[in-house]
């Protein structure tokens, strides 16, 4: 067991390509043979599974809703451990791939109280995540995950920016809000996505102006669009693909590979 596992989270403004960056980081990790990897797709607005060429599955949110339903209907045996049941159902929907496992969180809470269910979920995910040398999370857009402290165990926060001003503002807010809610990331880095090489200096300067570490840039890569269209996994992108090369450089710089 790897109790020393690293938790890496990818966040940023909606539409900057978080999931693509997450998929490329995953590819770099897988290709480098970097131990066991748990990928958590926590962005309900995207579908990381699609980018990785996997069938969509049931989500943790669906299981939580069913658990609540069963309890309300009195179908749940009184002495049966809800945590264990929940944990087993989550393990059941885990995509177990050769080089990594993927868990899809799905769209958040339905109606009613999720205090108890979320409390169980936190402990279940903690337990699961300890079994991997790296946990890579694709967070939902925006900042809510911070205020819910979903990221409290994140070691490295990768904030994706593009050329838009709003993406920098979001990056800054993520850093500030993390401080406010006492989440202590060991490291925060920014990664530019879909930025033409001639704009790299501008992006780097802007990021550094707001006091964030710049870790590199994923260039516009026609292969990504065509793989996406054909429904092929980004993990199969050729080594020579510019985005793949860039992602390798970035994970090396962050110290992941």
């Amino acid at each position: 067991m790897n109790s020393e596992g690293v938790v890496v989270s990818v966040s940023g403004k909606g539409g900057v390509g978080k999931s693509t960056v997450a998929a490329l980081i995953l590819k770099a990790l897988v290709d480098s043979g970097r131990g066991s990897i748990l990928v958590v797709d926590a962005d309900p607005d995207s579908n990381l599974a699609d980018l990785l060429g996997l069938e969509t599955s049931r989500t943790v949110a669906e299981i939580a809703a069913k658990l609540k339903d069963d309890i309300a209907a009195g179908r749940f045996p009184p002495e049966f451990s809800k945590r264990d049941y929940f944990e087993t159902r989550i393990f059941e929907i885990l995509h177990e791939e050769e080089k990594f496992d993927l868990l899809v969180m799905g769209r958040g809470e339905g109606e009613g109280c999720y205090c108890a269910v979320n409390d169980l979920l936190t402990s279940i995910l903690d337990t699961l995540s300890k079994n991997y040398s790296i946990t890579l999370m694709d967070m939902e857009a925006g900042l809510e995950h911070l205020s819910r402290r979903t990221d409290r165990d994140v070691d490295i926060m990768v904030i994706v920016v593009d050329r838009s001003r709003l993406s920098y503002l979001t990056a800054r807010r993520i850093r500030d809000l993390a401080k406010e809610v006492h989440i202590d990331f060991k490291r925060i880095v920014t990664v530019g996505n879909r930025v033409e090489p001639e704009f790299e200096e501008v992006v780097k300067k802007r990021v550094e102006e707001i006091g964030l570490e710049y870790a590199g840039l994923i260039p516009v890569d026609p292969n990504i669009a065509s793989y996406d269209m054909e429904g092929r996994s980004l993990l199969e992108l050729p080594e020579s693909s510019p985005a793949v090369k860039a992602a390798k450089e970035i994970t090396r710089r962050i110290g992941l590979t």
Partner: protein, 465 residues
């Protein structure tokens, strides 16, 4: 024994998950229909201490990468070993199995899912006898009242099926017994403050017959949680002396409520909506509300969007009920409480219920006593108070007689002083006569802040008018 054990046995392996890629074989789990684990209390002479049996292929005879039917039967004996302890002893199979390096164990009863890792198999964990020896040793060490223990592992599909079917009946009987557990039968309740981030003075008291408001934590869950995390939000409550068995007032519960509500509340009547009702956080599954016009209760769940019989939707009432304030006549309650024999015991129980939102009714139909099934209205029969009154009288609801008397008295009153008479509760209007929390006013308001961090640039408080 530990010298010959091929793998380590230690709590550090708790939470060990074995990835499909690293797994040698799978036992139980979603790919097989029959799997279970069972503890049986036996007479001393029927248990041969330390005996480990394997019925069907052993670990090294199973095909690598396969999923297999699996049953584990643990038979125990001892002067102190009673039938009632079976489920408590059985629960430890999970913990102890988790101590074994390379043996993943998830869940319980008929839903177990185990895996043996390739690594452990190659180290020599190639027979169930090792698992049996480890379990037997751990049981004897951690539960010394077990004097004799024998363990049988089944992988033969026919045998597993047989055990599985037998086990289901045993689980069912246990569930029936657990559902029958009364507050009188235990010395310990539990209190939960998981929701205090939303309602800092709210405390849930969880008893065998009163589930948490959110419905997610029953007495058994609370007992397990308190054991796992003694410093967590759920802690045991020594029941103390029972001050009032009908209203459900216990000294121990009162003490913990005062302590954990930061002094905001000092007494709880666990089985009543009046006097000192249980507070609500904001998380409750459903709301039970008093309808003064008919002196009965209405019940509504979160899923019901329209106005209830008193004209107020769930959301409006929720703001009055929540926040950890004792509000007579309004109570947030968990779904399972409707199935409890203590349900509103002090106020007349189910006989006091006159209206249930149809969405809620669909989920708790089984809880409604047979004699009331056709006497309790939903919004379909009774969208407002007037139609509710009619319905109750027509159907002969237990409160109908009293309702007729109330109506007659009101009519007499009206005739005596027609000038004063207000129109008898127009449909959709309501909460008259209810002790609602004063909005500001004479009593003032109390604000409790806990671990708060507030930044305000400007705050203006003005008296209106």
């Amino acid at each position: 024994m530990s010298e010959s054990m091929p793998v380590e046995i230690s709590p550090v392996y708790e939470g060990e998950r074995i990835r499909k890629q690293d797994m040698y074989v799978e036992l139980g789990g979603p790919n097989v229909e029959h799997k279970c684990e069972l503890v049986l209390a036996k007479p001393m002479e029927e248990v041969e201490d330390g005996k480990i049996s394997i019925v069907g292929p052993d670990l090294n005879e199973l095909k690598e990468g396969s999923s297999n039917p699996y049953a584990v039967v643990v038979e125990v004996a001892g002067k102190m070993v009673e039938k009632d302890l079976e489920s408590v002893i059985e629960r430890r199979i999970h913990d102890f199995s988790n101590y074994i390096e390379g043996y993943m164990h998830l869940n319980q009863r008929y839903d177990i899912w185990c895996r043996i890792s390739k690594k452990a198999f190659n180290k020599g964990l190639n027979s169930f006898k090792w698992i049996g020896m480890a379990l037997a040793k751990l049981y004897k060490a951690e539960m010394p009242f077990i004097e004799k223990i024998q363990i049988t592992f089944y992988t033969d599909p026919e045998k597993v099926k047989e055990i599985y079917e037998q086990a289901l009946k045993i689980y069912e009987a246990r569930d029936a017994r657990a559902r029958g557990l009364r507050d009188e039968d235990v010395d310990t309740f539990y209190s939960c403050v998981l929701c205090q981030s939303f309602a800092p003075q709210h405390v849930c008291i969880i008893t065998p017959q009163r589930v948490s408001l959110c419905g997610a934590i029953n007495w058994f869950d609370a007992r397990a949680a308190a054991k796992v995390d003694p410093k967590g939000p759920i802690i045991p409550v020594a029941k103390g002396e029972c001050i009032d068995p009908i209203r459900g007032e216990y000294t121990g519960a009162n003490e913990i409520v005062e302590k954990r509500s930061l002094g905001a509340n000092k007494r709880f009547w666990l089985y009543s909506c009046f006097g000192y009702p249980h507070t609500s956080c904001g998380c409750f599954d459903t709301i039970l509300f008093y309808i003064p016009e008919v002196d009965g209760f209405g019940c509504v769940d979160r899923g019901f969007k329209g106005p209830t019989v008193n004209g107020l939707p769930f959301s409006t009432m929720a703001t009055q009920v929540g926040g950890g304030i004792q509000t007579e006549g309004f109570l947030g309650i968990g779904m399972e409480y409707y199935r409890s024999a203590k349900f509103m015991q002090a106020d007349g129980g189910w006989n006091r219920v006159v209206w249930i939102a149809s969405t809620l009714r669909a989920r708790i139909e089984d809880a409604i006593p047979p004699h009331l099934k056709d006497k309790i209205a939903t919004e379909k029969e009774a969208p407002d108070i007037e139609s509710l009154k009619k319905f109750m009288i027509e159907r002969g609801h237990p409160l109908a007689k009293k309702l007729l008397e109330m109506e007659a008295a009101a009519k007499a009153e009206e005739e005596k002083a027609p000038a004063e008479a207000a129109p008898a509760a127009a449909p959709g209007v309501t909460i008259s006569g209810l002790p609602l929390p004063a909005a500001g006013g004479a009593g003032g308001i109390r604000i409790t802040l806990k671990g708060a961090k507030i930044r305000i640039n400007q705050l203006i408080i003005k008296k209106e008018g």
